[in-house]
Amino acid sequence: MPGLSFENYQRNQHLATSGFAVPKTTSTGTTIVGCKFDGGVVIAADTRATAGDIVADKNCEKLHCISSNIWCAGAGTAADTEMVTQIISSNIELHSLSTGRQPRVVTCLTMLKQHLFKYQGHIGAYLIVAGVDPTGPQLMSIHAHGSTDIGYYLSLGSGSMAAMAVLESKWKREMNKEEAMALCTEAIESGIWNDLGSGSNVDMCVMEVGKDSVLHRNYRTPNVRAQKERSYKFARGTTGILGQTVRNLVDVVEVPIANEEMEVDS
């Protein structure tokens, strides 16, 4: 068989069927979206990370920087989206150094899809890649198996249905930056409220032709923690003291100084 070997994966699958516990990976059961506008592109994400039914991180970062002009929103296995993005980021930097050109989104897309295809879906990264390059604003998506799509507006993750519902009903051609940002915010919030895998805040990144990309970390925070009814400070003395030992770290030895007997050369 050509290509990579997946026999350890098959062994683990076999182990799992015979009752061996499989470790839980942190999954970004996520809502991510992207939308083009006149003169740029915007991507956005929620900030909840889950491990099964438990919220693992209430304010995680799902927007990854590939290069100064290309950003990427990730859904799927948190570690995979993070690592795959870092690998491609450094390869893109080397590529642009050796060619002496600004990196392009299609280059990223090709590198990512070839990397992911090689791993046959075992790297669980679902990405929306966006940026501005010499060919203009670009917006694309990649699935874990290595397939890619292009669109004016895209959504991915467990909340993609909720987000796409908003995008399909409110998207229009020829939007300005503010309209695109508002649309993406609404799409992500739709995921936050209606999808259990998504929650907390909205992160956003705006990439405009001829301008630096702007990352709006926690662009919206509609889920601030509620004030508790009681204080749970424990009074001094709540912790039991079972025993006490005091130990000297240094032994102090008294040495009498015999000045008279000492001979000092002078």
Partner: protein, 244 residues
């Protein structure tokens, strides 16, 4: 949708390389949510969040699951909502029949024994629920009874059930039964004395337990409904929870 749900877990998660797909009807599903009961000196509370879910979807943001079934008894059966509703409904009917047949109130301890029989009656096709019963005992003291899906039960001071039970229960052990706490007055030499909490304190604990569970469990949220049982009857309090 129904086809997807009808598949057993093994079928949904199996890949091409593992076991053959078994197409069998699965009568159970998990509707999430959490319940919590605390007994006080002369009162008992039973609270539940009002979110109802399947998978990553919210079915309802307000679907009460704690009910007054008569005779100052409140009950909640959390887990598979369809079974829970049926159990509560049948318990209410049984209490009605008890009135018709005996013309007197059903004691809480008797009600608990009745619930045990109802659950064990379906020993080989169980109600997929964690049941909690709350009310006042013969002496007017607050009482909580909690049941496993097939009827094993125990009277307790407090109990959390459902999705976030494992998140709330340690908090309750510490704050209601003062576990792992020494008496500050004795400078940590004597254990904290076991005292009854006031209704006000209990309600604060319940609200904080639920707002914390909402932060960390995806199936908990939307609203909190607390049923309070005193000698004067059953009272309901509602407060909103986070909706994300």
């Amino acid at each position: 949708m129904s086809l997807q749900e009808a598949l057993p877990d093994s079928a949904l998660h199996s890949t091409a390389s593992s076991v053959p797909i078994e197409h069998r009807f699965n009568p159970y599903s998990d509707n999430g949510g959490t319940i919590l009961g605390i007994a006080g000196k002369d009162f008992a509370v039973l609270a539940g969040d009002t979110r109802n879910t399947t998978g990553y979807s919210i079915n309802s943001r307000y679907e009460p699951k704690v009910f007054h079934v008569g005779d100052n008894v409140v009950v909640s059966a959390n887990g598979f909502a369809a079974d829970g509703n049926v159990l509560v409904k049948r318990l209410g009917q049984q209490i009605q029949w008890y009135h018709y047949n005996h013309n007197k109130e059903l004691k809480l301890s008797s009600c608990a024994r009745l619930v045990q029989h109802m659950l064990y009656g379906k020993r080989f096709f169980p109600y997929y629920v964690h049941t909690i019963l709350a009310g006042l005992d013969e002496d007017g003291k607050g009482a909580i009874y909690s049941f496993d899906p097939v009827g094993s039960y125990e009277r307790e001071q407090c109990r959390a059930g459902g999705a976030a039970a494992s998140l709330i229960m340690p908090f309750l052990d510490n704050q209601v039964n003062f576990k792992n706490q020494m008496d500050p007055a004795t400078n940590g030499t004597e254990p904290h004395p076991i005292t009854y909490l006031s209704l006000e304190e209990v309600l604060q604990l319940v609200k904080d337990a639920f707002s914390s569970a909402t932060e960390r469990h995806i199936q908990v949220g939307d609203g909190l409904e607390i049923l309070i049982v005193t000698k004067d009857g059953v009272r309901t309090e509602y407060s909103p929870l986070k909706r994300d």
